[in-house]
């Protein structure tokens, strides 16, 4: 019974039995809490994956529109402005800031886009012609980048959650399949050991009482024999042989103790 399965190395005492019982209780509570956490995270995770799928489709459309507006620009400007723009980029106007959101104890990062005021690297771009198209193109792209940032934060949350869910599930399984069975085995072992000790104790007590009974029986027999001898001696002496009868009626002579 106690040899089945692994158990912890403890001495089979009542104290460690109590310890193991409280440990088992703790493990069960922890297991149910972690299980619930994992469920909450999984729910969130499914939500995020669905939104990622949607956002990716949306991104495809938005980028297409943005690319089209860029084509408009190159048509209006009548040349390639790429080089000029790459050279004039100095300070980022469009930046992101990260916040985090707490989902059952897990911090999910979220990006939030903001524009830094007063920075404009492209003040002179499109000064000759096509300025309006360039302006429109910038707006389109700014919207596209916002979508991208949104998608990026979803994706980051996805990666973080994926990792966390794996860790939590690992813990849940470890408690369910390793810690709880091991603690239960230990409790079984301690119980069987304690029962064994009880049986030993009982047997020992039984032996002791048997021995005592035997001793008293022997002592009784001896006393009886001594009395008989005494009575025979008295009879031989004759005379006052009737005397003990009257004494017995009064009950003054002590009975031999009965030992249970």
């Amino acid at each position: 019974m106690s040899g089945a399965g692994p158990r912890e190395a403890v001495f089979p005492t009542r104290q460690s039995l109590g310890l193991m019982k409280s440990k088992l209780k703790g493990a069960e509570i922890g297991h149910s809490l972690l299980k619930r956490k994992s469920e909450a995270l999984t729910k969130r995770f499914r939500d995020i994956t669905r939104r990622i799928d949607e956002a990716k489709q949306k991104m495809g459309r938005v980028m297409q529109i943005a690319a089209f507006s860029l084509a408009e620009v190159s048509y209006a400007v009548g040349g390639d402005i790429g080089y000029q723009i790459q050279e004039s980029a100095k300070q980022a106007r469009f930046r992101v800031r990260s916040k985090h959101e707490n989902v059952s104890g897990v911090f999910l990062p979220q990006f939030e886009s903001y524009t830094k005021e007063g920075v404009n690297d492209f003040g002179l771009t499109g000064l000759g012609k096509g300025g309006q198209q360039i302006q429109r193109c910038r707006e389109t792209y700014a919207r596209a980048v916002e979508t991208l940032v949104e998608l990026a934060s979803l994706q980051t949350a996805f990666l973080v959650l994926d990792e966390v869910i794996k860790v939590v599930n690992r813990r849940v399984n470890a408690i369910e399949h390793v810690i709880i069975p091991r603690t239960e085995n230990t409790i079984k072992y301690i119980n069987s050991e304690l029962d064994e000790l009880d049986r030993e104790e009982f047997y020992r007590l039984k032996k002791v009482s048997n021995k005592k009974q035997r001793d008293t029986a022997a002592a009784d027999a001896e006393i009886l024999a001594a009395r008989q001898r005494q009575a025979e001696k008295d009879k031989e002496n004759g005379g006052a042989a009737e005397e003990p009868d009257s004494v017995d009626v009064l009950g003054e002579q002590e009975d031999t103790d009965v030992i249970f």
Binding site: I52, H100, F107, P109, F111
Partner: protein, 124 residues
């Protein structure tokens, strides 16, 4: 995960690896940034047919591992395809690597490393 909280606080830029049109458009939106001299590093890389794969690889590594101020790396899907191994093995949450479509190459969700994982999780 809490340990990463400090590292993503100061990430505020986006980086781009893309063809000329994508980079131009995104720069117009105002994401371009050049760090202060002497090591004036750009946060964008223009890739054309003559660009070596090793150069893309190096830029990707630079944006994802060396620079600590980049929050999102945007990369054209057809370029990500060229360094697919690096993109797939990069699994850290920061910076977020996002594959974007380009003008000449329509978006294919089947190739996206993140979407592949999404699909796999749903068992499709």
């Amino acid at each position: 995960m809490a340990a990463s909280a400090a590292t993503y606080k100061d990430r505020q830029f986006l980086a781009v690896i893309g063809d000329e049109d994508s980079v131009t458009g995104l720069l117009l939106a105002g994401i371009g940034h050049v760090t202060d001299p002497p090591d004036s590093q750009r946060n964008f890389l223009v890739v054309d047919s003559k660009t070596e794969t090793s150069e893309i690889e190096r830029a990707f590594e630079n944006f994802t591992q060396e620079r600590k101020d980049i929050a999102v790396v945007l990369i054209n899907q057809h370029i990500a395809e060229r360094i697919r191994h690096s993109v797939d093995t990069f699994a850290d949450p920061f910076p977020a690597v996002l594959e974007i479509p380009s003008k000449d190459h329509p978006y294919d969700p089947e190739k996206d490393s993140v979407l592949k994982r999404v699909r796999r999780l749903f068992g499709e």
